[in-house]
Symmetry: C2
Subunit: 315 residues, 2 copies
C-alpha cells in the first residue's frame, strides 16, 4: 500500500536505487532535515540542493553532449560557410575527424563554440537547442541524448522536491544550452539553472527587443566558479550538492565544510557494462582529488554498478 | 464578507489602491492571464513579474538608501582608517558634507563603494547589511529605511503571487545589499533577486569555504543591463514589469513589446506631501524617456498622489 506523492512517507521514494548504504544515507539525511523539532531540522527556504549536469544527471561519454551539439551545428551551418571545408577545426568536424579537431586544443573548441553558440538572439538559440535535443541521438546507444539521463537521479530530484527542497543545476555546460529542456527533463525551471555563459547585449532590432549572444565568454561555471555561480544566482549555500568530477570539488566543499547538516554526493562511474567506467585518468569528467577528499569529508560516493538498479529511464 | 487569501476572488486584493483606472487595469490583466481557456491565459510557469527596487518598492530620496548605508559604513570603519579624516571623499562623509562627497562625481562614489562593499566575505557582508537594515533610520521621516516600502506595492506583490506569479527584484542596487532583507520585507527570496554585483572569488580560508567580495564591479544591472540580468538569472521574459525611472526603460520594453498579454507599470512620484515629487529633471530616479514612451506603448503609469490610498505600511 503506497502513499504515492506523500513525500517522505512514500513506500520507496528511490525505487531505482539498490538497498545499499548509499540509499540509506540519502534517506537518513532527508528525514533528518525535514523532521520538525529535531536538532537537524532545516527550514524549507534553506533546503537548497545543487546538481552538476554532465556525468551527474546525464551521460557525458565519449564527449560532452553539448560538444556533439556544436559539431552538429557546424554540419548544419556548413552550406553558409563554404570556407570551412578547408579550414580547421571545422574541416575536421565536417569530415568526422575528431582527432584533427581535438588536435587544436582549447583554442579550436572555443572557435567552434563561438561559431555555433553566438551571433544569434537568445530566442533563436533556444529554438535551435530545442530542435536538436528533441531529435539528436547518441551514436553508440541510439537513444535520444535527453533519454540518457539517470533514472536514479530523476528519482532523487523528485524525492528532494517532495521534501521541500529547491533543486538547482550548477553545470560547466552552457546555461542557455540547458534551459530549453531542463524543465521537461528534470523538473528544473530555467531560473534554477546555473551554467557557463557568453556575454550578451540587449537591443531593439527592427523595434523588437532581443538579447544578442556575443562571441565572448562571460563566465565559466566550473571548479572555483561553481560556488561563485551559486552565490550569484542562488544567494544561499546549498545543504545538498551532487557532482561527479573534480570540477565539482569546490561546490561540494562549499556545501558541506563546517556545515551540519549537509550532504555531498559523488556519482562514481563504475559500470562499463550499462554505462561507462572512468575516474582518475579520464580526460572527460576526471575524478581524482574530489574522490580522495570524499572519505575525509564524509561525502557519499555512488558506485553506479552497485548502487543503481537501472541507469536510464524505460523507453 | 471577505474571502481572505483566495487569490483573485479576495474581496479587494489591493486595499491601499484607490479605485482608479490604474487599479482596474492591474486587476483586469491578472484576471485575464489566469482565466483558463481564455485567449489571454498564461501558464503559471511563464507568469514572471520583475520589479525595480529603489523608487518602485521603497523610497529613494534624498539619496539611494544604499548610499546612506555606504556613508554609515564609512563612519563605522573610520577608527580603522585614520587617514580618511584628511582624504576626500571620506572626509566629506565623516563631516556630513555631502556636497564635498558628490563633488568627486562617480569616481568618488566608486571609491566609497569599494571601501565599504568589498574586502570581506559574502557572509560577513550579509551580517553587516542585516544589522544596518534592522536599525538605520531615514533622517527626515524617522522611520527605519525598511519601513519606507510602499504598502500598495507590497499588496501588488502578494496579489501577483496569489495568482501564480513568481516575483523577482531587478534593481540597479547591489544584489548582496538586497538579499539579506528582501524575503522578510517583500516575500522575495534571495534566488529571485537580481542586482548589480562586484566580482567575487571562492577560497578556503583557514579551511573554511568563503566567497570573497573583490573591489571590482562585475555587472551593472541598470538600463540595457536589466534585460541582460533577467536573461541571465531568470531565463524567461517577464510578462509583468514595474519600474520608476529611465533605468527601467529597457526592462519595460523587454517585457512588453511584441508581446501579448503583458503589462508594464511605472511608479510616478507625484506626491510631495506624503513622499516626494520628481521626474524629468531629478538626478535620482530620472523619469523622462520612459514616461514619453508610456502612452505609445500602452504602459500604465501610477500617479502616487491619486492612485495610492496610503504610501507606507502602518507602524
Ligand atoms: Ca560533471
Ligand atoms: Ca528605480
Amino acid at each position: 500500500f503506497a502513499f504515492v506523492g506523500s513525500g517522505s512517507y512514500a513506500a520507496d521514494p528511490l525505487p531505482s536505487w539498490n538497498d545499499t548504504a548509499t540509499k540509506a544515507a540519502i534517506i537518513d539525511f532527508v528525514e533528518r532535515v525535514t523532521r520538525e523539532g529535531s536538532a537537524g531540522f532545516v527550514p524549507p527556504a534553506e533546503r537548497i540542493a545543487t546538481f552538476d549536469n554532465d556525468g551527474t544527471l546525464w551521460s557525458e561519454q565519449p564527449m560532452y553532449f553539448q560538444l556533439a551539439f556544436a559539431f552538429d551545428r557546424v554540419k548544419a551551418m556548413a552550406p553558409q560557410h563554404p570556407e570551412w571545408k578547408d579550414q580547421q577545426p571545422f574541416k575536421g568536424v565536417l569530415e568526422s575527424d575528431t582527432k584533427a579537431v581535438l588536435a587544436g586544443g582549447k583554442k579550436s573548441l572555443l572557435e567552434i563554440v563561438a561559431a555555433t553558440h553566438s551571433g544569434m538572439t537568445s530566442e533563436d538559440f533556444e529554438r535551435i537547442v530545442a530542435d536538436w535535443i528533441s531529435t539528436a541521438k547518441h551514436p553508440q546507444t541510439g537513444r535520444l541524448y535527453k533519454d540518457m539521463v539517470y533514472q536514479p537521479m530523476l528519482e532523487l530530484l523528485a524525492y528532494l522536491r517532495a521534501n521541500g527542497f529547491k533543486t538547482f543545476i550548477v553545470s560547466g555546460g552552457g546555461i542557455e544550452f540547458m534551459r530549453p529542456w531542463t524543465e521537461a527533463t528534470y523538473g528544473i525551471p530555467p531560473e534554477q539553472v546555473v551554467g557557463s555563459s557568453v556575454k550578451t547585449r540587449f537591443e531593439l532590432r527592427d523595434g523588437k527587443p532581443v538579447i544578442v549572444r556575443l562571441p565572448e565568454i562571460d563566465f565559466i561555471d566550473d571548479k572555483e566558479g561553481k560556488p561563485v555561480g551559486i552565490n550569484s544566482h542562488v544567494g544561499r549555500r546549498p545543504i545538498f550538492a551532487a557532482g561527479n568530477s573534480d570540477g565539482d570539488w569546490q561546490m561540494l566543499q562549499y556545501a558541506t565544510i563546517g556545515r551540519s547538516p549537509s550532504f555531498a554526493l559523488i556519482v562514481h562511474h563504475t559500470d562499463d557494462q550499462r554505462e561507462w567506467a572512468y575516474d582518475r585518468d579520464s580526460h572527460i569528467g576526471q575524478l581524482d582529488q574530489a574522490l580522495d577528499d570524499a572519505t575525509r569529508q564524509g561525502w557519499t560516493v555512488v558506485d553506479m554498478k552497485q548502487d543503481w538498479k537501472r541507469i536510464y529511464p524505460a523507453q
